[in-house]
């Protein structure tokens, strides 16, 4: 799933500026599951903005709504009336949903209330871990189902580096404590699978042009096109 975190309130306020009719728009898919931008969180942000508007006497009106999926045109149709009535949409969807909203209702002002941060999985309650960087050339068939692109701090194709210690990555910052070394995990799992030889051979440089380094990507499924 796609995960996101809410932006600091002051940053949201600065984006909203002096607009008078504000719509906070959540999305009930990924960002709702990671407890950041679903209908409930949209309601909370709307009340915070309303209280602030009352305190400051700005006279701004704040509404909230949520799309079932903000990244698809038909679900945006369902909230079109509210969007049309607003001066600004404060979107709590992921970066894709926010852009869909901005494109669908162009030139409506649409600003983000969240920072979209990863393709992650809920490891346990209230904990998400990054699992994929959408690199366009998946290698995990040879790395024991563990992604070296985002789970190794240096995206090594031939790890581990010299900093791997006790199963932990050399990178430890206050935000990133106790990160597991992906290559240590890969080695252990390949051993358990009796496939160590996959780590003994040298892997060539990765083709980063298939990732975002190659420019915006596009996917067409000819066979699925409606004639």
């Amino acid at each position: 799933m796609i995960t996101a975190e809410r932006k600091p309130f002051d940053e949201i306020l600065a984006l909203v500026g002096d607009k008078k009719k504000i719509l906070v728009a959540g999305c009930d898919t990924c960002v709702a599951i990671c407890l950041t931008g679903g209908e409930k969180e949209a309601e909370v942000l709307a009340s915070e903005l309303r209280i602030k508007a009352e305190q400051d006497g700005t006279g701004a009106e704040v509404e909230h709504t949520a799309a079932i999926r903000q990244c698809e045109w038909e679900y945006l149709d369902m909230i079109a009336d509210k969007v049309e009535a607003a001066d600004i949409v404060v979107s709590m969807a992921c970066g894709i949903g926010i852009q869909s909203m901005a494109e669908k209702f162009e030139p409506k002002l649409v600003v983000p209330a969240v920072d979209t941060n990863m393709l992650g999985m809920p490891q346990e309650h209230a904990l998400w871990l990054e699992r994929c960087g959408a690199c366009g050339d998946c290698v995990i068939g040879e790395t024991a189902g563990i992604c070296p692109v985002v789970r190794c701090s240096k995206s090594l194709m031939n790890g581990p580096c010299g900093g791997s210690h006790d199963g932990k990555c050399e990178v430890t910052t206050p935000e990133k404590e106790d990160i597991e070394c992906a290559w240590h995990l890969i080695w252990e799992r390949l051993k358990a699978q009796g496939r160590e030889e996959l780590m003994i051979k040298n892997r060539p440089p990765k083709k980063w042009n298939l990732s975002s380094s190659g420019g915006p990507r596009k996917m067409v499924r000819e066979e699925a096109k409606l004639v």
């Binding site: 090594l156 031939n158 581990p160 910052t173 240590h184 080695w187 003994i200 892997r203 440089p205 990765k206």
Partner: protein, 314 residues
């Protein structure tokens, strides 16, 4: 061996190829445009080491570039081994810089992954990591031996490099470390310098694995030494430097002497003892002395270890 048979023909390559015990040093460029720092360090080390590593934005902190500093070192009497990390450059920039280093007369290169950006002074920068160290070694070997760029295109004049790599015998998983060295040999590394060794018994165990695979015959191994100035440095390395293994008895030994001239003397003495012990290990072809910001200790250590005069090779 005639000159034409050398891969790069550097002093370091010749000494190691002739089976002489090599001594390399290390020099960290300054965090300013003051090139005289390199000049002074190079003058201090000239005649005491066979070549000197010039670090590349060491610990992810911006400094004078390794190639520019390597050139300064060369002009001041020491052969440089320029380090190149995969952290700050993509494959285009690396190849361009390597071609440039060759034209400046620099022919030793040590290929590294590089410490993570989060350790340095620009933690907000984008880490490149287009290649990893093994990819870099292979790219450099193909440039040298096949006259090919990474993309496969041919070039007229190939850059000549004696290719080095680093390995940490104390990194985990321990059982994989000798295999990783083998991967670097396969990629094309000619010599290897280890992370600083304090735990000699563990290093010996690692060398047994290396010899069991015959790797010491395929690559020249230089054992890394860092002279300690005092107990503070020993504790810091034990607790804060990733992948470092400093046994308690070393910390205790340094704690037993007064900080200052006494601890400096003890640190040098310890380094000399360790060099002598490492030189006895089968498959150790030389030592790499990393006295970063304490370069003046190197001449004393090399002399006391009986490694002077340094050999001259034609």
């Amino acid at each position: 061996m005639t000159a034409t048979e050398y891969k790069a023909g550097t002093n370091l390559e010749k000494i190691l190829s002739e089976g002489k015990f090599a001594v390399t040093g290390e020099c960290g460029p300054p965090k300013s445009a003051d090139g005289s720092v390199i000049e002074n360090k190079a003058k201090m080390l000239a005649g005491y080491v066979d070549a000197v590593n010039i670090t590349d934005n060491q610990t992810a902190v911006v400094r004078i570039s390794s190639i520019a500093s390597g050139y300064t070192a060369m002009q001041n009497g020491v052969e440089p081994i320029v380090q190149m990390t995969c952290r700050d450059r993509n494959r285009l920039a690396m190849q361009a810089d390597l071609l440039g280093a060759h034209t400046l007369g620099i022919h030793n290169c040590l290929c590294l992954t590089g410490d993570h950006l989060s350790f340095g002074n620009h933690p907000e920068a984008r880490g490149v990591h287009d290649l990893d160290a093994i990819n870099l070694i292979e790219m450099l070997r193909r440039m040298r031996d096949e006259k090919k760029f990474d993309c496969g295109e041919e070039m007229d004049v190939a850059p000549k490099f004696y290719i080095g790599c680093a390995e940490n015998p104390f990194g985990d998983p321990f059982e994989f470390r000798a295999i990783r060295l083998k991967k670097k040999i396969l990629a094309g590394a000619d010599f290897m310098q280890t992370q600083c060794i304090f735990n000699i018994p563990k290093f010996k165990t690692w060398m047994e694995e290396v010899r069991a695979e015959g790797l010491h015959q395929e690559i020249k191994i230089l054992a890394g030494i860092t002279p300690l100035k005092g107990v503070g440095g020993a504790r810091y390395m034990k607790n804060f430097v990733p992948g470092m293994d400093v046994p308690d008895e070393i910390v205790d030994r340094m704690a037993g002497v007064e900080k200052g001239p006494a601890s400096h003397a003890e640190g040098k003495k310890l380094a000399v003892e360790m060099i002598k012990e490492l030189a006895e290990i089968e498959g150790v072809a030389g030592v790499h002395i990393m006295a970063v910001e304490w370069e003046e200790a190197v001449p004393d250590i090399v002399e006391a270890a009986g490694l002077l005069p340094r050999p001259t090779v034609a």
